[in-house]
């Protein structure tokens, strides 16, 4: 499956099927720091992602100190 990552923007190819939780573990990402979006729909941690899916892993941590 195609996996889009941000900050910096880059694309990875990852073999499915794989659960959201396992995908985030493999990419060394905290679950609280990202949303996982399939197409234009949010998917929860137990969702199984397939080879044909297009996935965006969107970081949610933001902000300056102001």
């Amino acid at each position: 499956m195609k996996v889009l990552l941000r900050n910096p923007r880059r694309e990875l190819e990852i073999a499915g099927p794989i659960s959201v939780v396992k995908l985030l573990d493999r990419l060394d990402l905290h679950r609280d720091a990202v949303l996982v979006i399939r197409g234009d729909t949010l998917v929860p941690g137990d969702a199984l992602l397939d080879d044909a899916d297009e996935i965006e892993i969107r970081p949610v941590i933001s902000g300056g100190a102001a």
Partner: protein
């Protein structure tokens, strides 16, 4: 995974609440948390005019959307910070949000109105960009709120923001800042009332709200903020939260309930010594105020490109 409320398909799991939500109940959850924050901290009275500080990011747009849904009388305000494409795109998103809904959006542009921008200010003052950025925002939101007769300024600070700021303040024992970490800062002579209605929501929740609500927001991180201490504190807290869900909430709300009042005298003492800025009239410890000094020092300098100020990207780490 099923929605904890309706047993329909869930789109998100929130471990600190031990709950999963479908889109509709996620939106209800977010609105309910804002209602509770406004109620518990007496943030906004019915009929008051609210100025929403809008950056184009997920928090401020979710906040504006929720306040509108709840029926508050709101206008927005956005500041063009001059941080290259990032600022241009953020402003465009804010303008689009307001225009689509027929809302009033005040616009201030640092370069156009004050002849400087954040990267140039950082370069000239040799301080971190967030310093000039925060100073400019605080001053200008206060100014527009007071001049426009708004009762309240609402900002999109969320639980992650507040917990991270608190961690930084505790680590460095910034006790006066700790006294100011309330979800409501009351209006005082020369300062408008300021409220943080998102303090009960984490930033993953506000981002998810925007996605399910179809709100387009600025996803890219500010190139000036990259690697700053605030983000490091957030990453550290996320590590703790992963091992112990609910820790951020307990840290921040425990502080408010058990400790914040101990630091209030220091805030009152500092406030009592404020004088008026001889240039703009704003309350300040020393005249002229920090904003007027900044403008005096940096206005008119040749604009500095973002690339000359931003830090090199740090090594990959879990975040």
């Amino acid at each position: 995974m099923k929605c904890t409320v309706c047993r329909g398909p869930a789109v998100i799991d929130l471990r600190r609440h031990n709950a999963n939500f479908c889109p509709d109940h996620l939106m209800k959850f977010c609105r309910d948390q804002v209602v509770k924050a406004i109620h518990d901290h007496a943030m906004i009275e019915p009929g008051q005019r609210v100025l929403v500080a809008v950056s184009g990011g997920k928090d401020s747009l979710a906040l504006w959307d929720i306040l509108l849904e709840l029926g508050y009388d709101t206008d927005g305000m956005t500041i063009g910070l001059g941080i290259g494409d990032y600022s241009d795109e953020s402003t465009a998103i804010s303008v689009e949000f307001a225009e689509r809904r027929g809302l009033k959006l005040h616009r201030v542009d640092l370069r156009g109105d004050y002849d400087y921008d954040v990267p140039t200010a950082a370069k000239v003052t040799r301080r971190v960009p967030c310093s000039a950025c925060g100073l400019s925002k605080r001053h200008l939101f206060d100014k527009v709120a007071l001049e426009g007769g708004y009762d309240v300024v609402a900002t999109g600070h969320n639980l992650d923001d507040e917990a991270a700021v608190l961690l930084g303040n505790v680590l460095h024992w910034q006790t006066e800042y700790m006294g100011r970490q309330a979800p409501v800062l009351p209006a005082t002579d020369g300062f408008p009332r300021k409220v943080k209605p998102l303090v009960r929501l984490g930033e993953r929740e506000t981002a998810a709200y925007c996605v399910v609500r179809g709100i387009d927001y600025m996803v890219e991180e500010c190139p000036m903020a990259e690697g700053n201490r605030h983000l490091r504190y957030k990453e550290a807290l996320n590590g703790i939260e992963a091992a112990s869900p609910g820790s951020k909430h307990d840290f921040y709300f425990g502080f408010l309930a058990r400790a914040a009042e101990h630091f209030q005298p220091e805030v009152d003492e500092a406030r009592a010594t404020l004088v008026r800025c001889e240039s703009c009239g704003a309350p300040t410890p020393d005249s002229p105020c920090a904003f007027c000094r900044l403008v005096e020092r940096v206005a008119g300098h040749e604009p500095v490109p973002v690339e000359l100020v931003r830090k090199p990207r740090s090594k990959a780490r879990k975040r």
